[in-house]
């Protein structure tokens, strides 16, 4: 039985091309959708084996749509198909439940070969994306090791609040300490991590997804 696909992209010309390529490769296209919201509805209605999902779309983006689909029908495999080379989007997509990540800069042959991996239960991810993912994970774990070595638990928590853009007063309330103690911790964080100012620390916290215990 050929795999049954739902193709989701807001550009008709691109969508038509994908449908043609899939059919020419002997795969079955059971439906199309032009935004994330339509994709969620069509996935529930058609129950395809695979959803080929663009990321940047109006109404509902591909990552949120993926989350909704995989939460309600986990057996559907969502494969992102995007121009985006950003690490954050790649990681967000995988966290949302995507089982593959393909780039629109692939050749037609590479695209079809990677999709065929689904038939063997393997994830369709090009080696260039795998390398990026490995670098990302390595960077994340080394960053958290550095943090744990350099900062106290309280300082890491406070750094998380800086990432959320909280002012000192609010941080002091959250931590149950005085304004002066917050200032003291911030000074230590800047010194230990070699930051020039609070904004650099906040950006670091956002980049490394540091969330304080709320």
């Amino acid at each position: 039985m050929p795999l049954r696909f739902l193709v989701v992209d807001d550009h008709a010309l691109f969508r038509d091309g994908m449908v043609s390529l899939l059919k020419a490769a002997g795969m079955q296209v059971v439906g199309e959708a032009l935004n994330g919201a339509e994709a969620v509805n069509e996935a529930a209605r058609l129950k395809p084996d695979v959803v080929l999902m663009d990321i940047d779309m109006p109404i509902l983006n591909g990552i949120d749509a993926t989350r909704k689909i995989t939460e309600t029908i986990p057996e559907i495999r969502v494969v992102m198909l995007t121009v985006s080379q950003e690490d954050d989007k790649l990681v967000d997509a995988l966290r949302a439940g995507a089982k593959g990540y393909l780039l629109k800069s692939l050749s037609s042959d590479e695209f079809i070969d990677l999709l065929r991996k689904l038939e063997k239960g393997e994830p369709p991810i090009p080696s260039s994306v795998t390398v990026r993912l490995m670098n990302y994970v390595a960077q994340q774990s080394s960053s958290s090791e550095i943090l744990n070595e350099k900062l106290t638990e309280r300082e890491i928590e406070l750094l998380g609040y800086l990432g959320l853009g909280y002012p000192n007063k609010l941080i002091s309330e959250k931590l149950g300490v005085s304004d002066n103690t917050v200032k003291y911790h911030i000074k230590n964080i800047l010194q230990k991590l070699n930051f020039n100012n609070r904004a650099e620390a906040a950006a670091y916290a956002v980049r490394h997804n540091l969330n304080p215990k709320m």
Binding site: H11, L13, F14, D16, A24, V83, S105, L106, S108, F111
Partner: protein, 125 residues
Amino acid sequence: MENVQPLLTVFILAHRSLLSGGIASTLSEYGSVLNVRLIDSETINIPEIVQTEAPSIIILDAGDSDICKKTPVTKLLEWAPNAKIIRLDLASDRIRIFSSIELQINHAVDLVGLIQSLSRTELSL
């Protein structure tokens, strides 16, 4: 005798572009009227193949900055003066068509008549 239309040769210039691959696949479904060729701009000498095979239509993806830099529309029209160039712009869901007319001009005054014709759209591109 059956009236058989000649095949229109369509070149799609691209390098690693799923949009172009998809367009090539879609147009290939019309093989009785179109002779579609996906030309890899990295491995094929574009000026040579365009000049020797003189395609009727050349399709480019406007979002493919490499191909647009390597083969600007003006160059393509120099190499294949009779071709129509179709540039796909996925970002705006539009296509833009380019073509050229080559005329002999002997005197500057000829240019005046030509400009007037163009402004009255008597001379259509």
